[in-house]
Structure formats: structure tokens, C-alpha cells
Amino acid sequence: MAGLPSSTSAKEKPSAGVFDGIAIRLLAPSWLMIGFFLLVPVAMMLVYSFLTKEFRGGVIWEPSLAAYDQFIFDRGLFGDEPPVIEWTYITIFARSIWQAALATVLCLIIGFPTAYFIATRPANTRGVWLFLITIPYWVNLLIRTVSMKFLIRDTGPLNQFLISTGLIDSPIHIVNTNFAVQLGLFYSYLPFMVLPIYAAVERYNFALSEAAFDLYASRWTTLRKILIPVVKPGIIAGCILVFIPSLGAFLAPDLLGGAKTFMIGSLIEEQFKGSAGNWPFGAAASMILLSMVLVVLLFYARQQTRSINGAR
């Protein structure tokens, strides 16, 4: 028999489930692919972050802490001055975290009521609403970002519209500002917030709200004290799904922002482009970004286990 590992031979112990005994064989292809082409590369990236840079891109195999040192300290042009704290990169990271967090909050403010509204539609129209949210989720992010850039350009349709209505006299500069990047992040990842919250609210047992209502809670108290705590895992999942890609975003800052609106993603990208690059530094910045993401995910995993072991 071809394909899946051959049927159990008589000698082999019979299996409890049909696919018992071959779990490892079934999982091996995915382990090999992801292990070899992602886990090993990440490990290599860690190694590269401790190597010396080669000026035309790439590395020299000489251990060095220069990449991390450069991240924090300024030692002058020739590296012989006493170290001073270098704020450039720290500022970029701090701003990235701030912008990703702000994008998350904005997505939550718009996304939660939307998800809730869709989840409480009658079954026959719910699908249509959900479909409308799903489309942007699937549309190419580059195209969406380009569309946004087109819309908000100085001579773009938005400014033309505002001028034509007489609200403004001269175009508002939006592109190449922090605001544009912020808008781009928010707009890029908004569907990522809606879908997990929708899933949580859809599973929510509304008898709980009715019980609270029955016990004299107001509509908003019911929302705050009953619904939100119950659907919290969905809210946290949505926040993670917005925060993590926002933190490492490249397209929004690159296309909508300018040189002054650098985020981590653009900083990393620059290290691998052309001769200006610095691979160890790019690898180090990637490692720092990855560690931050892992911290967030660990926090998330702890929340999840707590909500499983908790009230339920």
C-alpha cells in the first residue's frame, strides 16, 4: 500500500486509535520543514548577531558584541571615545512599542463593538456581516496600504473632497507623518481584532446577561461585569494579533511614513539592503524584537492557562 506508512504488521502491537503509534511519523514532515527552515535559521540569526560585520553585507566569522553595543552606546566615529548612551535605536524601539500599543487600543475601540454587533445579528444576516469583515482580512496587505496612501496623499481624493466641501483651504499633510503610520497600522490590522472577539461573543451564552439583567444590573454594568470578563480570552487574542504584527510592521511605516517615522521593521530592513547594511546589527535588532514578542506570547499563554483553570 502506498502513501501513509504501511499497515500494522502482525508483530506490532495493535493500536488503540487508528492512527496510534504513527503520530511521530505523521508529524515529522512539519517538524523537518519548520525546524530546518525556521528554527535553525533563527538560531543562526542569533549567532550572526554576535559576529563582526562585513562592509558589503554579510559577516566576518569573528565573535563580537558590537551589534548589541551599537544598539545602546555611541563610541564616536572611530569607536575610541568614551561610551555615551545612544538614543537613536532605543527611541525607534520605544516609538514602535508605543505605536503598536496605540494601534491595538484603537483597533479594540472600533473592533469590539463591531465584533459584538456582528455576533448578535440573527443567523441569516450574520454571515453577510462576517463576510464583509473577512474580505479585507484576505486582501493583500500591500495593496491595502498602497490604497490608503493613494487616499490620503496631499493631492489625493480625501484632500480633494475636504477642499471641495470648503472645510479646508489647502491640503492637509498626512503622508510621511507619524499620524499616517498610526492610521496605517490601525487600518492594516483592524480585521485581526474583530475576528477573534467575534468568535468569543458568538460562543457567549446570553442567558448570563439575562441573569445579570434580571438581577437588576444595567445594560452597561452587564457588559462590563459579565460579558467582557467572559469573552476576555477572545479580546486578548485579538490584541495579540494586532500588537505583534504592528510591532514588526514594515509596509505601513515604509509606504506611509518617511525617514522620521522609522519603526523596528524599517530599521531591520535597512540593514540588509545594499552596502549600507549591517547584518549583525540587523540580526541583533531582530533578536530583540523576537524576545519582546516572546514575552508578550508568554504573558498570553499564562492568561490562557489561568482562564482555563479559573472560573470555568
Binding site: 499497515s7 500494522t8 502482525a10 508483530k11 506490532e12 502491537k13 495493535p14 493500536s15 488503540a16 487508528v18
Partner: protein, 367 residues
């Protein structure tokens, strides 16, 4: 062995997980099922009956022990090499195949030609009265029809043993009753050994030749329905099958198969003993409610087997009347009186009554 049993499970043990978090699902269970027998595994959920069935089918490994099918050891064969078929609890009919394709599946897998497989499958469908439904999908059938397809599918390859895992539990009450009769008929016609798992004692009693009562992964008693009902081997069996009065008692003296016991506040009772027991030990007495008769009482004491008390509950139930009594010694007794001749003594709550226990109805149970 000249006359081999259809199935012989010896000292079967099933342990899930590893120490110290292991769970013993089956503890040293041995059963032997004769050819053409309708054998039932009866017990509450979690008693190990399904584990035992799945072990016979080949879906669970056996931790220790052996399984023999007509004298051959099968415990190391995978499920697809055992000439044993199963009717699953939720039927597990393949939804993407027609009824006929479902019924023919086993034969096709055994390498039979499509023609042969389909003709046998067709015959099986006729047998379960679904001849006209061959081209439907399982989803278009009612629960009862699906159940018949599952039966036809499992019988088509002519297994040496048919396993049925609570197959009637998903049906409504009326259908369940008629399916009981039909299942038994099919079993007799086909001459195949059936092993039936259920938690429903009525189901077990109506269909089985013999049954095994299980609890907590252990075998409690094997016997015919009558044996198990009338001569329960232990407290669990007495309590699980039918209603019973279980009274704790102290053994005063033992004489052969009879013992004199003391219950409650020094009342003496003659009981039948099946297991060895010594005078002075404590045990339980089981008395079926319908083996107790009632009479209005004015006198406070009578013969040896007569006890008196106050009626605490009296409920008319149609064919019989249920009466709860609080005996003078503080023991609570439950009895059922047939309403057959209209001769039932009408009693009211609070009235005094005396009870009489039939000869041999009180059984002493060691544990």
C-alpha cells in the same frame, strides 16, 4: 478443549497512562461467551464495559491478559484483521457514501468484487427492511433506519462475533422497544454471537441469554437475567438491577444455606446465604420490594417474619402501589404491592401496618 467458546477473555487488565497517574479501567476481567449466545455487558457509565468491548474489537490495547476467538488468540491482531464487527453507538455511518456503499464497505475491503459485495449488502439491507433505501445517503434516514444500516453493515462480512456498543441509546423509547425484539430475532436467525453493551437493565433483561454485570472496572457477576435478579451475588448487583431494600445486619448464626440475622433494633430475620460467612460478622440483607406483602395491623407484634411499622408514603402507580414504611425498630422498608385483584389493602400515611417477607426473599450479601 473439545467445545471451544466463541469468545474467551482471560484476566484482562487495562491501564491508561503511566504511574503514578495511571487509571485502571479494567481489573482482571474474565468472561467466556458461548457460540450463538446473546451476551450483554451491563453496568453504569465508566464501569469498563465499553473499554472491554473496544478491546475485543481491537481499538484498545490489552495491558495484560488474553482474548481468544474460537480458540485463537486475537489480542495482538489489529482491528482490521479481526473477524469481529462493531455497531457503533452513534452508528458512524460514512456520510459521503450511500446506504449500499456503507453496507458493502467491509466486503469491498476484504477484496470481494463490487458485484458480490453489493449483492450481499443488498441482502443484508433486505433483512433489516431497508431494501428500498440502498441509494440514499445516511443523512436522509431516520435514527431507527440509520441504526438498521449500521447493523446491516456490520453483519455483511459475516463476522464471527458482533459487538454492539449501546446501539439503542440514541433512539426514542418506542423505537428502542421494537428494536430490542428485532435485534434478538436477527441474532437468532443469523446464528451469530452478539456482545451487547448497555447501561439499561431492562434492555439487558429482554434480550440477553446471559449477562455480565460490571462496576469500577471489575466483573461483579455473570449469569442469566433470572439468576442475577433473584440471586444477586453482592450489594452492587442487588442495588443496580431492579429496586431492592438493603438493610445492614449482623449475622447471629449460620446453618447451612440459611442464617439468622439481626437488623435494626434487635429484629431477627431468616436469610438465604450463598457465600461463606461467619456468625458475628456484619453484612447486608437484600429484599426485593415486591417480595414483601402488607397488611393492616392493630397488634404490635406477630410471627417471626412479620414486622410492623408506620406507613410513611403510599403512592398509587397503576399496576402496583409503592409503600414506604418506617418499622418500629427504625428501619426504612420499601415495598410494592400488585394491584391485580383490587384486593390491596388501602392504607394511608400514618397508619400502622405489618409486613411479611416471602420465603427465601431475604438474601444475605457479604459485601
Amino acid at each position: 478443549m473439545a467445545n471451544t467458546s466463541a469468545l474467551e477473555v482471560r484476566n484482562a487488565v487495562k491501564v491508561y497512562g503511566v504511574k503514578p497517574n495511571d487509571v485502571i479501567a479494567l481489573n482482571d476481567v474474565s468472561i467466556s461467551v458461548e457460540n450463538n449466545e446473546f451476551f450483554t455487558l451491563l453496568g453504569p457509565s465508566g464501569c469498563g464495559k465499553t473499554t472491554l468491548l473496544r478491546m475485543i474489537a481491537g481499538f484498545e490495547t490489552i495491558t495484560q491478559g488474553s482474548i481468544r476467538l474460537f480458540g485463537e488468540n486475537i489480542e495482538n491482531l489489529p482491528a482490521n484483521k479481526r473477524p469481529v464487527n462493531t455497531v457503533f453507538q452513534q452508528y458512524a455511518l460514512f456520510p459521503h457514501m450511500t446506504v449500499l456503499q456503507n453496507a458493502a464497505f467491509g466486503l469491498t475491503m476484504l477484496g470481494k468484487s463490487d458485484k458480490e459485495a453489493n449483492s450481499v449488502a443488498g441482502r443484508m439491507l433486505e433483512m433489516v427492511q431497508l431494501g428500498g433505501f440502498a441509494d440514499r445517503k445516511p443523512g436522509q434516514l431516520s435514527g431507527g433506519q440509520q441504526q438498521r444500516v449500521a447493523l446491516a453493515r456490520a453483519l455483511a462480512p459475516s463476522p464471527k462475533l458482533l459487538l454492539l456498543d449501546e446501539p439503542l441509546s440514541a433512539l426514542d423509547l418506542k423505537l428502542r422497544h421494537s428494536m430490542r425484539v428485532e435485534l434478538k430475532q436477527i441474532q437468532e436467525e443469523m446464528g451469530i454471537t452478539f456482545i451487547f453493551v448497555t447501561h439499561d437493565q431492562e434492555e439487558a433483561l429482554t434480550m440477553s441469554d446471559r449477562m455480565a454485570v460490571m462496576s469500577n472496572g471489575e466483573l461483579q457477576q455473570i449469569g442469566t437475567g433470572k439468576e442475577i435478579y433473584e440471586q444477586p451475588g453482592n450489594r452492587f448487583v442487588a442495588d443496580f438491577i431492579g429496586e431492592t431494600n438493603l438493610l445492614s445486619a449482623t449475622v447471629e448464626s449460620v446453618k447451612g444455606s440459611h442464617a439468622t440475622c439481626v437488623i435494626g433494633n434487635n429484629t431477627r430475620l431468616e436469610c438465604v446465604v450463598s457465600d461463606a460467612i461467619e456468625a458475628g460478622s456484619s453484612a447486608h440483607i437484600s429484599i426485593r420490594p415486591e417480595r414483601i406483602s402488607l397488611a393492616k395491623s392493630t397488634v404490635s407484634s406477630a410471627g417471626q417474619d412479620t414486622l410492623t411499622g408506620v406507613v410513611s408514603r403510599y403512592v398509587y402507580l397503576g399496576t402496583d402501589t409503592q409503600c414506604k414504611l418506617l418499622l418500629d425498630d427504625g428501619t426504612k422498608i420499601n415495598c410494592r404491592v400488585q394491584n391485580a385483584h383490587g384486593s390491596t389493602t388501602d392504607l394511608a400515611v400514618g397508619e400502622r401496618a405489618s409486613i411479611h417477607i416471602d420465603q427465601g426473599a431475604a438474601r444475605l450479601l457479604v459485601n
